[in-house]
């Protein structure tokens, strides 16, 4: 088997900081991505909520209704497939996501506690259903489940879902509150899930998706009226552009420059507009600042780099 190894600058997300992702892409992985079932027959409890192949563009199914575009960007998902073993290394490439928990978990917890007038201090999110879209290895899903919420982690990368499932299986306290599923928001909508979750979280995900409008549309469909949506992502600004370019040339000096990813970064106004178009009202937007030397996140007034956004779906009258 030919195994080609390419080093790629992974600009953006994860932490708003550039870092290298070594992509070890081999045929098995590619073919798996293209929809060939895992032939090893390994027993994983990964549920798949759709068939394995995703349509690559608009397509018309047998009954003639127009399907939504897929939100999957194959290049992006491939990167995350290759990261499988890295998710739970708190000092590794994804440490920025681990340290971001110190900011985003309290934000989600406190917003929900206030919104649902919760008074209990232990497992405060008990009874709430949360969908963690683009959950990766479950870095954010696990703490939310530990806080008592019924969490479903959803990800387009099968390898990420396997890593998340394997990690979760070790902890007896999670087996009743946490499940991981391979798929996308549009798959869930297609399987008739609607108005179901008390909250949806998509943290460091939207800068990796295609067809943002449909992605946000499906996300909004999945949330109950009056429910919450939380996003964290990176802004498309000159600052983030320079960081992308400089980091790409300095640190890696190889072809795929951060600029490619930079084009996928999302401005707060764009996200807000998509939400409003789907009856969801942005409530709060907060800048986030990452210090790579301390591996620490802080809230900041400026949304020029990373930001977090909370929106509420229009309650039923």
């Amino acid at each position: 088997m030919i195994s080609l190894s390419l080093t790629k600058m992974h600009a953006c997300k994860l932490c708003g900081r550039m870092f290298r992702v070594v992509l070890r892409s081999n045929r098995a992985l590619l073919s798996r991505f293209n929809g060939v079932l895992d032939s090893t027959g390994r027993n994983t409890s990964v549920r798949s909520c759709s068939s394995t192949a995703y349509p690559s563009s608009d397509s018309v199914n047998e009954s003639g209704t127009k399907q939504k575009k897929t939100s999957i960007n194959p290049e992006e998902v491939k990167k995350f497939n290759a990261l499988a073993s890295k998710w739970w290394d708190t000092k590794g490439e994804l440490k920025g996501l681990h340290s971001m928990n110190r900011l985003r978990v309290p934000m989600i917890r406190d917003t929900l506690v206030k919104h649902h007038s919760i008074s209990k201090k232990s497992r405060p999110l008990e009874g709430l259903r949360i969908l963690d879209v683009g959950c990766g290895g479950g870095i954010l899903s696990v703490p939310l489940a530990k806080l008592g919420a019924q969490v479903t982690g959803l990800d387009a990368s099968e390898e990420a879902v396997k890593a998340a499932t394997a990690h979760m299986a070790r902890d007896p306290s999670l087996k009743d509150t946490l499940t991981f599923t391979h798929g996308t928001v549009e798959d869930l909508v297609a399987s008739e899930v609607r108005d179901y979750y008390d909250a949806l979280v998509a943290s460091e995900v939207i800068e990796h998706v295609d067809a943002l409008d449909d992605f946000v549309g499906s996300s909004c469909d999945l949330v109950k009226p009056g429910g919450s949506l939380f996003f964290t992502t990176i802004n498309r600004t000159t600052q983030s552009y320079y960081l992308a370019v400089i980091a790409a040339e300095y640190i890696v000096g190889v072809v795929p420059r951060g600029t490619h990813n930079w084009n996928k970064f999302v401005k707060p106004e764009e996200l807000k507009d998509e939400l409003k178009a789907n009856n969801c009202h942005p409530r709060l937007i907060h800048g986030m600042f990452y210090n790579p030397f301390l591996n620490r996140w802080n809230w900041t007034g400026s949304t020029e780099m990373n930001y977090a956004l909370h929106a509420i779906k229009e309650p039923e009258l």
Binding site: T90, N101, V105, R109, K121, P143, K146, R170
Partner: protein
Amino acid sequence: MSALFCRTTVRAFIRSTDVVPGTRRLAVRPLSSVGEPQQSTESAPPPPEDTWEDVPQDFYDIIVSGGGMVGAAMALALGSDPVLLGRRILMLDGGPRRVLTQVPDRFSSRVCSLTPGTVQLLQDIGAWDHIKNMRVRPYKRMQVWDACSDAMITFDRDELNEDIAHIVENDVILSGLMQQLDGMQGLVDVMFDTKVKGYKLPSKVADGEDSPWARVILEDGRVLDTRLLIGADGPKSLLRQTANIRQLSWSYSQAGVVATLKLSEPTVNNVAWQRFLPTGPIAMLPLSETHSNLVWSTTSEDAETLLQMQPEEFVEAVNSAFWQDYKREAAVDSAVQTVQSILSTISPGGTSARQLPPSVSDVDADSRAMFPLGLGHATQYVKHRMAIIGDAAHRVHPMAGQGVNLGFGDVSCLKQVVSDAEATGEDIGSVDRLLEFETKRQQAVIPMMAAIEGLHRLYSSDNPALVLLRSVGLQFTNAIKPLKNEIMGFASK
């Protein structure tokens, strides 16, 4: 250095009555020069291979191993935290449940001086009321003076209106903690007479490990797994050894003698007295209007002699240790007088009048005991999925009475770190989080140990230069209120 002297686990003591005259009764390490650091040579006992494979019988979120004063307070602090409600918490101890059904008429000679910080913690975890209802003795003033000069220092709070610390018998503290634990059924599981045979600890990167949890193997063969293992298993901590955490230890060729003293006549008895003799500090701590506790640190030979004396002889020795004049240097005396007159000009009223301790008429039978003095400090307090607290992490010279207060300080700090981690859904056993506890506590413990060590060296001498230094130091410290408050605050951390 406010609160003094707390003494310790019953087992650590050798009672005078247990001793066959003429035999060597004490494991006082015959030691080289005072304070020479010695790497202890403890090493982990090899794990009993056959048991490691065992399947765990139970899983706990937190196991506190060791139910002495510090372990019991830890279990209570965790069990009464609303954030941790519903978490499974276990405290286990190799000994029996030690609870007093009634307070004995006689005072135990093992007592602790509890600082306001400790009393606050005991209130927060609900044990203080039990303790207070048994027997405690607050005191309002502490006087420390030098046998080799007229220098002295007094500590008090708010012109004697507030207590600076409480003297409480160890049995009473432990009993109060046990009584409170009794009411925590469903919140904290408790196992007595349950000795730990060994521990197994996971390495940091959990995925791919045999077991990601810390494992406790009991002597009866049971195996328990836990997310966070807290070792409160005392100065010889098996957990510390198993984790391969090195311990720096010092041994002074000194010993502590304790006893319950009867006073010649009843007094208000609300002052703690400590006098620095060339052989070490002697202290008298109030227990009631008629009784005080003695803590006398001295050479091992003197301690042996004190233990064997007839009661009248012993009483005589105690009285003269507090009253007797020691060798004085004219130069030191005149320096002290000069400083005194300067101080009273620049800070009139800043130095309070010297008082004299009550005289002693008798010693309670069987109350005399002695123990070796030493100091030990673990180089690390945490590893992945484990932390050590109390004497397992640090043991200090009893002179400062900080032993148990430092342990209770660990309890408050670790509880907060665990609670904060739980409140954000984090892994409470993750070393990343536990390191916060280590950093915070070492910032409090290390300066304290250094200060105690420094004082010990400074005072175990009648070298005129050192006497001058400490005398003038005491005088200045005594005259300067902010500095004194600083010292008192420091001692209650």
